[in-house]
Symmetry: C2
Subunit: 793 residues, 2 copies
């Protein structure tokens, strides 16, 4: 243990810290156990105990200790600080401090600062109709629920970016520290600019155990531990022990040192313009797990063992001895010194909380929607691709988007960032680099900037960790800013679970927490998509992220598949302006045919689905078949199929439909965007075959439309896990999303076609064989396929 | 740069190393460019160049350098070594060395060791019908494709476990090192026992850049870098530079030191029984990106910049100057010294390869199926739950499984391990601890073992990183062993992408690589499932992993939802004996009702789906309605619904069906397990309402059965993202999977019911309200719900 500087604290200060700590510990314990007798004003009875004991004690006392000490420096320095609780089930700590600061009662008046309010506060913790055992969206002061471990640190950095006056204290627990996302998020310090951004103070809280096992970082030699964090680029301050008096001194000393170091770093950057990457401080706090719990119970060690992880004494309702142990435990915190006779906090305790918005539980950054300024969006029409006729020119759709994003960036240089795993240029968004750079605080050389400059002031965040990027973006959004993440389609699965959890946060925050203001949507651009990963092979082909997203609540998730650049612009504009959604945009980076003028695109995207008359020959009649598409490559192939049919079987009436907004497909009962059944049938017909060319796994379309009355007429094409090293057309043919397969499927499903249809079908099959052979021989597709134009026009 | 010891290498040795390196570089470059003129026996022509230039040069020369040096120590020490290539697109290096070692031509005789074979070898790289630019399953010597980054290190440790004589060299590239999974996998050294396991030699290969950006680890001060790896518990050896001569000396010196350290560690553990965690060596190799490429091109720096990442000179077919640059580049490796006039490797070069199975490209550990011994499985009948009647007793299904797994472990103490993120006991598999311990090489205290002992010899792997566990298990399976991973259901999404990628590996290896022997299936037990995470809340509720799995090729994936312990035993036995599948078993850890005797369970699980006559009252007639279930809680609620209907509306004929094998539901055209349509209709009826209570998201069932003729009669209940802090029944009611909702749905869908049905429905609705209120008031469900027994019996 580090020897604390003597006399950092006066005796009175130490007593105050200890009083707060005792109060928070008492409250945390009360949440785990009590449904009555909140002030322990009478002997503890079995009926005072909740019927089901839920919650986690393990990290609460340590976190309460941290919070007390943070409040001390907040008050002294008038700091703008927020608190991120990494330990998953440690909500009793956050909630206790929130209650002590008065915020909880302000937000939830029924949990008032009196005996009855306290009783309800205890009772409703981890109780049906109450609040959860994580820092759920219902928790004032929280932007991080921590149900799934791994993201506290990246959330903290995300909150600090572009918030120069903010200090984000983030507690990382034993368990979370072992996760991959946390292990690499420490490197976020290579992307934090002390002149422009706020500071993050990581506090690694080593209780020694995770759920049932010791933790790795708690069981390596101290020098190894310190080296690890020096290696991550931090200056670690170790605070270790179990004696409260010594620990208060040590923690106060360490925290004073950290604050001073942070202030010195910021002064050097802001006043002296030192652009070097600083070595930021961090704290390693070693305390016993379940600190202040009973030392032992029935011969088992409790305090300092994994047995203190959850509810340490379980059978108190039925075991009178254990009930006494619990009563003594409660009384060890001297509630009578903390609360007056009616259950109000004593004034001496109240006075220890910071004031107003300086309370970490009431800091507006933790209700980021309050601070959110709408993005200043340029007019997306200005970036339009001009075209005379559909299907005549090709362009990289995301390249056009990049030009739009460049000007979004230009107009919002304080609250908008773009995130991508080393692929922003690869995904053709490089126009952004005209107005900003790639954020980089580590060493750089002149040659690095050949292709996109690196700078501490950059606003494009590139690290080869989808986890860290997503965590940064979430933290950035939750504190009221805006952003966009771009990723290779296959590898966005890496953050399936993070997107799940963020969606769940939005679901709760939006519909069940009235005091949370809307935050900017999570916008994910999926590029380098399956159909243009023909050359990278099988590992790079997985469009299944959409399936994951469709499982989230319909009020929150949106999926867009713009077929061309103008549609992509329209969709992007819509998504960037929206709040409280998870918007997924699928748009490949390769050159694609352009179909719609901007006016047409806006109309099409507003409807989300539409009939393209110029590609149809049904002329207002019920067609013989419908060809539909969703996705850029899928649309090109579907249009080519229609063109082939128009040419080879002109008597066949084919209607062409394109879907931009995937959630137009399910009925309104399943998604608010869903079309009515009558509109759906009007578009797709009641009983004609629908050959649907989908970007992703075909079953997803069936999942969305199974309730439609004409569902049985749909024949969906999509990715079927057939891939290797291919050409684009070969990959399409192997998965039957190519023009020939689609045209054949139309012929197969329209009854009563002329004899000639059989020969057309044969010709289409021959074409497939020809092109498969061509690809295997030449390694490329024929030029005319690559330069294909819409034949009808 | 570390000063190399002088004269580690004789001049001849250095020349040999350099010759191998030049040869491998030449071959790597050839793969990127050439379709003809493989020996450069005539001037390079545009027609010699492939039409589409694909592949990555960046890390190839560095990896070739490593391989050459590893071969030197393999030959000297007769080492049993394999090579894992982390850098994603670095396959040209692995392929080049595989060809040089002769293995490639042995496996693929058309890629023979002569001019035509070499031409084909070059031509087929990244070419349709050829091989990919990653170390795909087609690559001899590879167990790690590396298409998605992050898993090389955990794969390496997985390969080393229980392989005491094996040394796994693993190269981690700049990009991969930034990923979360890689960042925490370094801690695997706390789980590697030098007495029992093999060794892992990590080689961090810093080229300076990832795709388009410098990499973090390449751009931190050297002391920071060294501290990081000291902090991870390694002894780093730094080898840095660009002068081949100096670098050969430095690398040889570092490698000799590493091998000596590894041998000393193993001797201390094996002969002197030193049980302390050793500090294993590692190498940090800094070389220029694209080492030996042209220094510059058109004013841009190539060697040593991100521009060397992929194909450094692109327009050689059309730009004669660039073609000359390329030709000079090829000739800089002096092919005439490497190959004789007919294209055979010169004998001096051939002699540098290790012999036979000592070649890393031919090491049998990399075709683990060859080494796989089937598990010695105990008779699972011995663990059966005995029951007189269905639905009378409750037991924790996974607790029973734990007893079986204990004896699987006992009989296979050298090739079976169980993996779980700190939750093996929480998931009630603790019986395993009767025969083995939890693997732990870090510090431990006596109190740690209160509840499951820690030991270097333990065979239960617990680290709070699903990524690392999954990576270890994959590495363990790919080298011919067996295992099972257990995880909380919601958080198995963390490894969605890893399971995707492993499934893709199996798909290819099994169906397209005839020389790969089958490996043990990847078995994942999903426990702590959504319906019993009522108390942990919304973040812990996500059954969507099944949706991800159903997107993989049907030949490879299997999903089982055993309703009780006997079925779980039967399913587990089946899965553990199987090969080349990804088996997902969903089984909650809480007490559940038991339904089937072991004989009944075996019959039921063999069929995968079945009518339960004792729960049906249709007596061989076409029923009025079918109630079906898949999943343990879902089955209990569905049975309770049927019991309520039998009691309240005895005239209603209801058939009860349970699904264990989810892939019985789709037609055989979509999955080999699929039932015929006639069997499906025979079971579910042609036109009676089917109320299906599913464990997961309901749309998944629709996705599986949309092609069934009676699909429109299915009404699927499942998780609908409605969760908070609940009781189990309350959670069920909120999502409509409870007995009352199901019974109501039956009543709603059976036409012509008696007037009494309306009052039964009202009663059912009243019951829901009662129980919701009961939960909110009492925090628990009524005792009779928890102790519910099947009412009909």
């Amino acid at each position: 243990m580090q020897t604390p500087d003597q006399h950092v604290l006066t005796q009175e200060e130490q007593a105050q810290l200890n009083q707060w700590w005792r109060a928070a510990n008492y409250l945390s314990l009360g949440m785990l156990y009590l449904q009555d007798n909140p002030l322990m004003t009478r002997p503890l009875e079995p009926t005072d105990i909740k019927p089901r004991l839920l919650g986690h004690w393990g990290s609460d006392p340590g976190q309460n200790f941290i919070w007390a000490h943070l409040n001390r420096v907040i008050r002294r320095e008038d700091l703008d600080m927020i608190y991120i609780a990494g330990p998953g089930h440690g909500a009793p700590a956050t909630l206790a401090n929130t209650y002590l600061e008065g915020t909880y009662s302000e937000v939830y008046p029924d949990r008032s600062q009196d005996a009855e309010g306290l009783r309800r506060f205890f009772h409703l913790f981890s109780f049906p109709g109450g609040v959860g055992s994580h820092c759920t969206p219902e928790t004032p002061g929280s932007i991080h629920e921590g149900g799934e471990l791994g993201y506290s640190l990246s959330h903290a950095f995300g909150a600090a970016f572009d918030n120069p006056d903010l200090l984000v204290a983030v507690v990382i627990g034993d368990g979370e520290a072992e996760t991959g996302p946390a292990a690499t998020a420490w490197h976020s310090n290579k992307f934090l600019n002390p002149a422009r951004d706020g500071a993050v103070l990581p506090i690694l809280h080593l209780n020694g155990y995770k759920l049932a096992n010791p933790s790795i970082l708690a069981r390596i030699p101290e020098e190894e531990l310190l080296n690890l964090f020096r290696g991550y680029g931090y200056a670690p301050h170790l605070v270790a022990g179990d004696d409260p008096g010594l620990m208060h001194e040590a923690m106060a000393s360490a925290l004073d040192a950290c604050i001073a170091e942070i202030q010195a770093i910021q002064a050097a950057a802001r006043q002296d313009h030192n652009h070097q990457r600083p070595v930021w401080p961090m704290i390693i706090l070693r305390t016993p797990k379940g600190w202040t719990a009973p030392k032992t119970l029935d011969g088992h060690i409790i305090e300092g063992s994994w047995r203190a992880h959850q509810v340490p004494v379980l059978d108190v309702k039925t075991n009178p001895e254990h009930l006494t142990v619990l009563e003594d435990w409660f009384k060890s915190y001297h509630p009578e010194e903390l609360f007056d006779e009616v259950g109000r906090l004593r004034d001496s305790l109240k006075a220890l909380a910071p004031r107003g918005k300086r309370r970490m539980s009431a800091n507006p950054h933790t209700n980021g929607g309050l601070l959110r300024e709408p993005l200043r969006l340029p007019d997306f029409h200005d970036y339009q691709v001009r075209l005379a006729k559909p299907g005549q020119i090709t362009i990289e759709n995301t390249y056009v988007l990049g030009q739009y994003l460049r000007d979004v960036m230009r107009r919002n240089m304080h609250n908008f960032r773009v995130f991508g795993p080393d692929e922003t240029a690869s995904n053709r968004l490089q126009a952004i680099y005209e107005v900003t750079q790639k954020t980089w605080m580590a060493e750089s050389f002149p040659v690095d900037s050949d292709g996109g400059e690196l700078s501490p002031d950059g606003r494009v965040m590139e690290m080869l960790s989808e986890h860290t990027l997503e965590g940064w973006l979430e933290g950035y959004l939750l504190t009221g800013r805006h952003g966009l993440l771009n990723s290779y389609e296959a590898f966005v699965h890496v953050i399936d679970s993070m997107v799940n959890q963020h969606s769940k946060w939005i679901e709760k925050a939006r519909f069940e927490v009235s005091w949370r203001a809307p935050i900017a949507s999570l916008n994910i651009l999926i590029s380098s998509t399956v159909w243009r990963q023909d050359h990278n092979g099988f590992t790079h082909q997985d469009p299944g992220f959409l399936d994951v997203v469709t499982n989230k609540r319909a009020d929150v998730v949106r999926i867009y598949l713009p077929p061309d650049a103008n549609c992509l612009l329209s969709v992007a504009d819509h998504c960037l302006a929206s709040t409280d959604y998870v918007n997924i945009i699928v748009a490949d980076k390769q050159p694609h045919l352009q179909y719609l003028t901007m006016d047409e695109a806006v109309t099409h995207c507003s409807k989300g689905i539409g009939l393209w008359p110029w590609a149809s020959n049904d002329e207002g009649q019920v067609p013989d078949a419908v060809v539909a598409s969703a996705g850029d490559v899928s649309t090109m192939e579907a249009l080519a199929a229609v063109a082939l049919l128009h040419e080879k079987l002109p008597e066949l009436r084919v209607r062409f439909i394109n879907v931009v907004d995937l959630f137009k497909l399910p009925p309104p009962s399943l998604h608010p965007h869903g079309m009515s059944d009558s509109d759906f049938v009007g578009l797709f017909t009641a009983d004609r075959p629908v050959i649907f060319n989908f970007h992703g796994y075909p079953a997803l379309i069936h999942k969305l439309i199974y309730r439609r009355p004409n569902h049985e007429y749909f024949h969906v094409h999509g990715y079927q896990e057939m891939g290797s090293i291919n050409t684009p057309l070969q990959l399409a043919i192997e998965n039957h999303i190519d023009r020939f397969s689609l045209a054949i499927d139309v012929i197969d499903h329209v009854p009563g076609l002329s004899i000639r249809a059989a020969s057309v079908k044969q010709w289409l099959q021959d074409q497939q064989i020809f092109h498969l052979n061509y690809a295997r021989t030449n390694g490329i597709d024929p030029q005319e396929i690559r330069e294909w134009t819409y034949l009808v026009n």
